[in-house]
Structures are given as structure tokens and as C-alpha cells.
Symmetry: C2
Subunit: 336 residues, 2 copies
DNA sequence: CTGTTAGCGCCTTCAG
DNA sequence: CTGAAGGCGCTAACAG
């Protein structure tokens, strides 16, 4: 049995209240007493029980994170940011992976309770209006990372603007026949793909270029599907000279598919992604960078703020996007 | 304020003991009473406090996982296995990312305590003999996933055998000049690279082939380093016809570096990795597969077992390795 | 400044 | 089968 606060108190010849005070860094303890208690704590290798403390204070010393599709590289980066900040602040974090919205409600309600965690992060949660209604309010402070929820502070990016940036980059390089490859909406509410597509369309529209419907490829978030789409694109009578991918994931597949057909990147085909995952750098892929690690870190800080001062009006912080031009984009091939 | 067990008891017209009993599925409750209590619980949307339950039972209803370099793809897969099994068993898991052994001790001692979690998983922890001594014993049941600790149940693979398998595959294809590219030991104790290298050497030795020292490239776990090493290898007067990479990570870099030099894979150079990450499939990379998701899942189950029956003699389970021959390995080019 | 005491919400005897 | 009561370890409010 590990020593309890009472053991420490007894050995130090003080009351438990005093020990508790030094534990919580209360100024109401004489330096002398504090030193003694600290010594005893050290001697006995005592550490306070989180459980008991939690019961007493009414809140667990842990943060909860509900992450959509946790194993994707982007979610991982966000998670890393969250963990770093949380652990610096002395919080552990409980993790919950989620794959669809039906889970979501249960997960959120099951985890984001005062007896389980002091605060919660909703990562990449894009609920529909109806989802929101079903979610209700949370008994613990919550923030969103990569997502917006009315009444809840959070971090988000402008996906539409990002899609537009990607496309404009291509247009500036001289491309006119540009295709889009993306996936269907996320299982949880509206995904970013659709918004990025909207941005793509806007850029094309602004430039006065048409977007034939065969140029827009939307399918499941699977390698084979994107592969197939790329093949269809490249097999067209009038193939595109560039592709805007909804994410680096798709961009990679497009590049692979092109390679297999001996279509040179960027000479024959320019490709731009979205996210700037590690692999984008490796593959020399042009992309629209969104802050991943940073969004996790800032999200965690935001949560800490909210926990510190409840009742603040919710803040929605937009994270900046950045175009990263690398070797996968270049001017279109000379017409002939 | 959420309802407490007392509220439920009152409303149901029974004692708290009875409510507690139905909560814990004790058979000592009449069906009639049970039904009533259940109804009230439903009505009041009551859920028991984990904190209080933990204080009372002396153990938290959470598992702790200390993961080395959590964001690597392989660690992620393991984590996924752990989370899936844990959540099926009704456990949440607290995550701790660790990057060096100095952290490790603190992390382990700070997290693996009865007041914080009911059991712990040490993922990819490869301690030196000294580390082990410094770690001491844990007050909660612990298992290792991808690692061995004396006196602690766990899952492991035979890295040496794996290195040997990879090399033998190449030898069977007819290669004689085979190089090895790997990284330095993990920050935490001995890494797998060295063992895989040993297996590689053994296979070469058994086949009677020499391994010139320039054929063995060990450096930091960084893309640029592996890139540089590959370039050195390919620039040799007598370059290797095949490369055994310590991990898929290195194999990918080797392939990229080769491509940049217009060295065809597998026509001019065969490459085999280790792990079988998702990307290995995408890249058509031959590799030695180690069970990743599975090791996490089985590790979690093992932990559950150990928690259920403490005092069992520790079990060390070896996970099977499997050679996956894909398109990155082929017979060596014809001599000329 | 410090000791004492009452809970926090639940589980677990112990009588009934 | 079931109600009542003690205690898990800690914090916070209250007298000194």
C-alpha cells in the first residue's frame, strides 16, 4: 500500500490539512513546516492519489480527446500537439478514436463528463446541424480542433479558400485544364473535400475557365478509387494538365498513377495537394499547408484557457493556410 | 449537478447498496427490483462516477500506455490495436508519448500507479540492463508490446531472424552483393536495427558471401542520412545489387534515392524493407511483415488477462514474422 | 499559520 | 434478497 496523506502528516507531526496545503502550494504554510513536510514526502516516496483528489475537487485531472480517424497522419500530428501542451501543463489525456457519427454522440457523452476529465477536445469533428442538436451541451469545457461548433470555442481553417489557393497557383503557372480529385464527405458530417472543391470551382470561375464534369472526381477515401479516377482523367481525349487534390493523400495516389502510365510529373502533369504531411516534403509535392501540430497545440492551450475561465464567450480562431510550392507543379506542357 | 447513486436510490425507493448491486451486476438482486432501478437510472440519465468508484475499489478504470515515438506509423498501428481492444473491454486509455529513456522512468512511474490506471502497456520499450534496474517494479500490472522486460509479460518479435529472412529472400533471388541500410539504436535502449543487421550478416555468412564494410550503412533515423547513404552505395565502384533496409522507412528512402539517380527498381536494384506499413503496399515494396495492429490488440488482451489473474508467471509471446515478396525485389541484373 | 472535521460518490461488509 | 453504515484519500471550510 502506498503511503497516504495521513501517513505523511503523522510522520511529519502535522495535520493532514497542512500537508494538503503544501501539496497545493498554498501560501498559508510557514517555510519551516513546508520544508519538513516536503522532506517527509520525499522520504516516503509519497504521491497524492489523483482519484481521491478528483473526487474531492469534483473534477478529474485528465483531458479527454475524441479524435476522428485518429490514425490518419494529419490526426496524428494534431494529437502530438495536444499531448505536448497537455503534458507540459501537467495533464494526461484520454484518447478516444471515432469513425462515425453514431459513435460520436456516445463517445462524447461517455467521456466528456466531470468525473472522467476536466476538459475535452473534439478533433476534426464536422457535425451537421442535426448532429449538433443531438449532441446537446457538455458538462465539461470543450473546444474543437479543426472544426466549428456553435457556442464552442475552436480552431478551424477556411477549406474553401484553401481549395482556391491551390487552384490559383496552378492558374498562375498557366494551366487552364485543371481537374479535381477528392473524396466523399467524412463519415461525420460534412467533410472538407466539398468545400475545397467549391474553392477550386471559384478559382476556375474567376479565371473564366470551364470545368467539364469529367474533370471532377469524387469517391471513397481509398487508394484504388483515386487511382481509378486518375486513370480516367489521364485517359480522356482532352486530359487535364494539372490536378488539384483534396488532400496530400489523393495527390500521392495521383502521382503514383501517373508514374505507372509514364506521365511525367510535373512536365506532363502538375499536381498539388493539401495538408503538407511529412510525405509531401519527401515526395516534393506542392501543397497547401495547414497547421497540424500547431492546431493541436493551440487547441489544447485554448482548452486550458477555457477551463481556467469558464463562461467566456466562445472564440473561433481561424488558422492560416500557406501555399507551399514544390517540384510537383510547373507550367503546362507546350501546346502542339 | 449530475444525479448520484443516492438520488437514484431515493427515487427508486431502495437503498444505495441495492443500486450499487445492480450497477455491478450482482446476482443478489430480485429481477423486479433490478428492473425498477434500471428504469430510474434511465429516467434520471444517471451514470456512476468513475472517480468515486475508483477511490472505493482502489483502482482507476483506465489503462495507461507509454509509447515510444508515438507518431511513427508503426506505433500508430499498435496504438490502434490497443484502443480497439481496450474500448471493447470498457476501458479508456491514457496516452503518454516518450522520446528518450530519461523521460521514460518518470513517465512510467508517474502514470503506472493504481490511482491513475488499472494496468499499463509499454510500447516499443527496449531498455538496457541498467534502465531495467532503474525502473524498479510497478504497482500496477504491466505488459510490454514490442519489447521484453524480465519478469513482465509481453509480446516481441525476433528481429535477428527478420533481418535474416529479408537477406535470404535476396540471396534466393540470386543476389550476392547485398548492402544494409539502417539507423542507430533507438533513443531508448537497444534498437531493432542492430539485431536485424546481425541477422543480415548471418544470412550472408551462411551463404558464404562477404559483406564489405562500405556495404553497411548505419546513421541517424533521418531521411537525408539514408539518402546520403544510398548515394554512397550506388556510387561505389562495385555497387550492391540489392539492399536490405532496417525498416520500410529506410527502404522508401533508398527507392527514392535510386529513382533520382535513374537506377531502376527492381531491375537494377532490389530493395526489401521491414514492417509492412501501409505505404509498403502502395509502393509495391517487398518487406518482412511484423504484426503491428495485431501486436497492440494482443498486448491489450494480455494485459487484461494479467489484470484478471495477477501473480501468473510472466509470459513472453513471440509474434510471427512473414516475408512479403512484392515488386521491389527481383533477380539481379545479368552480369556483363 | 495550523489542526480538525465534514463531505465527495461509491463499494462493501454486516446485520436483518 | 436488502437497507444501513464505514471507509477509500483528499480538499476545503472552520475554528483556533
Amino acid at each position: 500500500m502506498p503511503p497516504t496523506i495521513a501517513d505523511v502528516a503523522e510522520r511529519a507531526g502535522v495535520g493532514v490539512g497542512t500537508v494538503s496545503r503544501v501539496l497545493n502550494e498554498s501560501p498559508l504554510v510557514s517555510d519551516h513546516t513546508r520544508a519538513r513536510v516536503l522532506t517527509v514526502i520525499e522520504e516516503m516516496d509519497y504521491y497524492p492519489s489523483d482519484l481521491a483528489r478528483g473526487l474531492s475537487t469534483g473534477t478529474a485531472g485528465v483531458l479527454g480527446a475524441v479524435v476522428q480517424r485518429m490514425t490518419t497522419p494529419s490526426a496524428m500530428q494534431r494529437l502530438r500537439g495536444i499531448l505536448d501542451v497537455a503534458s507540459d501543463a501537467g495533464f494526461d489525456v484520454i484518447l478516444r478514436n471515432v469513425n462515425n457519427v453514431d459513435d460520436y454522440r456516445d463517445q462524447v457523452r461517455g467521456l466528456l463528463r466531470p468525473d472522467r476529465c476536466a476538459g475535452g477536445l473534439l478533433v476534426s469533428f464536422k457535425p451537421s446541424a442535426e448532429d449538433i442538436k443531438r449532441l446537446g451541451t457538455n458538462p465539461v469545457p470543450v473546444v474543437t480542433v479543426d472544426g466549428q461548433l456553435p457556442g464552442v470555442s475552436g480552431l478551424f481553417i477556411d477549406d474553401e479558400r484553401g481549395g482556391q489557393m491551390a487552384c490559383e497557383h496552378l492558374i498562375e503557372l498557366g494551366h487552364q485544364r485543371i481537374a479535381f480529385v477528392g473524396d466523399r464527405d467524412d463519415p461525420i458530417g460534412f467533410g472538407p473535400s466539398r468545400k475545397r472543391l467549391a474553392g477550386f470551382r471559384k478559382a476556375m470561375d474567376d479565371a473564366g475557365y470551364a470545368v467539364p464534369e469529367q474533370y471532377v472526381k469524387i469517391g471513397a477515401h481509398e487508394r484504388l478509387v483515386a487511382m481509378q479516377h486518375t486513370n480516367e482523367l489521364l485517359g480522356l481525349e482532352q486530359p487535364p494538365t494539372a490536378v488539384v487534390a483534396a488532400a496530400d493523400f489523393h495527390a500521392m495516389v495521383v502521382i503514383d498513377a501517373a508514374r505507372l502510365r509514364s506521365v511525367a510529373i510535373p512536365d506532363d502533369l502538375s499536381v498539388i495537394g493539401f495538408d503538407d504531411l511529412d510525405m509531401a516534403g519527401y515526395l516534393d509535392l506542392s501543397t497547401v499547408r495547414q497547421p497540424l501540430y500547431e492546431s493541436g497545440a493551440r487547441g489544447a492551450r485554448l482548452l486550458l484557457d477555457v477551463m481556467g475561465a469558464r463562461g467566456l464567450p466562445p472564440r473561433h480562431v481561424e488558422m492560416a493556410l500557406e501555399l507551399v510550392a514544390r517540384g510537383s507543379t510547373a507550367p503546362p506542357p507546350i501546346k502542339r
